[in-house]
Symmetry: C2
Subunit: 238 residues, 2 copies
């Protein structure tokens, strides 16, 4: 309907499929659609920078985003990867507290923050949905704190692979998962270096827990062993 399309024309999108709309009535969904605009960004583009004024809320419609924070000397921590259905910018801070970049080509749905906040106050059930989403992010962040503070390199990589597998809602055996982010991104997400991530993946391959068929794809051969490894169980000499 009133959805503004910026900057590239984006073909038919089913607005009622947007995550923010799920479970809401037709009228509420219409309210939301009325304040959206769609954007398409190429892989590698920056959506916003840490420190910039934040007047929008984004929903990822398609593709994958990477969020990160920097130290003055350039050390980087990736705080999360967002795939379709995730919201970013819910915090009522005045400025962004991380930088967001597109890993793949990305389609975003943008809401003006002020309008979004009005919805929170007026649409029944909407606040609960947003609160649930934020709480889930917080829970994930706490799991990541355990990983970063206390897990070994092998445990971190195993945890990451399982997280990716789960996100892609796979069955259990012989999952082939898509890994759109580069080794550098994985390393900065896990608090390791590229080299350590590579070496660990190679080891996992050698032990036949995974396969590395092509760039951007990893096959999980032994889900159970990865789980055991991820939570600090058996070591496999890793």
């Amino acid at each position: 309907m009133l959805a503004h399309v910026v900057p590239n024309a984006v073909p038919k999108v089913d607005f009622s499929a947007l995550a923010v709309c799920r479970g809401l009535g037709r009228e509420a969904a219409t309210n939301i659609m009325a304040i959206t605009s769609l954007q398409k960004r190429a892989a590698g583009e920056t959506i916003f920078w840490e420190g910039d004024p934040a007047d929008s809320v984004f929903e990822v419609v398609k593709g994958t985003l990477r969020l990160h924070k920097l130290l003055p000397d350039g050390r980087r921590q990736v705080t999360g990867f967002l795939c379709a259905g995730h919201l970013v910018g819910l915090a009522p801070e005045g400025t962004w507290v991380y930088t967001a970049e597109a890993i793949t080509e990305v389609t975003l749905c943008r809401y003006r923050r002020s309008a979004f906040e009005r919805l929170i106050d007026t649409v029944p059930g909407f606040a609960r949905r947003v609160l649930t989403a934020t709480s889930h992010e917080l829970r994930v962040a706490q799991d990541q704190m355990l990983l970063l503070g206390r897990k070994t390199a092998a445990e971190r990589v195993a945890s990451f692979l399982l997280l990716m597998a789960e996100q892609q809602g796979g069955g259990d055996d012989a999952e082939s998962i898509s890994v759109p982010m580069g080794r550098n991104d994985i390393a900065d997400y896990l608090g390791l270096t590229v080299e350590t991530v590579c070496r660990t993946l190679t080891q996992l391959k050698r032990h036949e827990l995974i396969e590395l068929p092509t760039h951007g794809r990893i096959v999980i051969r032994d889900h159970d062993a990865l789980e055991a490894l991820a939570s600090g169980g058996i070591g496999f000499g890793l």
Copy 2:
């Protein structure tokens, strides 16, 4: 020690001073007070365990809580310290995702979750307040991810001291901050060992950035230097 107290029987607590009430009208505050119960816990007591069913929301009224997660082999990550005014248990998960323990003697205000959720849906502005609080937790968690993933031991300890100082809303010079948690807790919060925390504190003392007058108290002598250190600036040979 499990002093379960009916609200009205505890005259000394000013309910309208509870964090959840701030900014709400008299009627809303009355609604909230009607669903509370007060608890007092001794230092060292566990409030709830990771994995236990979570049917409550707690507000810390007095004292300090410690939240942590465990790996099967006992490695521990402290995910946060909560002092007066903080809420815990907002996530709509069925079970607790961390363990909460009292560091000092603690006074808690307990809300039944179902009643709390009804407030979210019915009291104007309440959902926003809760969402704001949760978003803030998330922001803090992301800062901690940067710390755990990318900062050196000295940077972590400096960051921690500044965080404590800020929480106690001090002025800038010669702050004496209260550090109720033990070295072990600090270590598990920062992803270090007790020994490393001790050594680093000793070094900071040697360089006259801090003083260690008594247990449970630290004096910040050079706030600026600590800030520089915390964000990876100058090294001070640390």
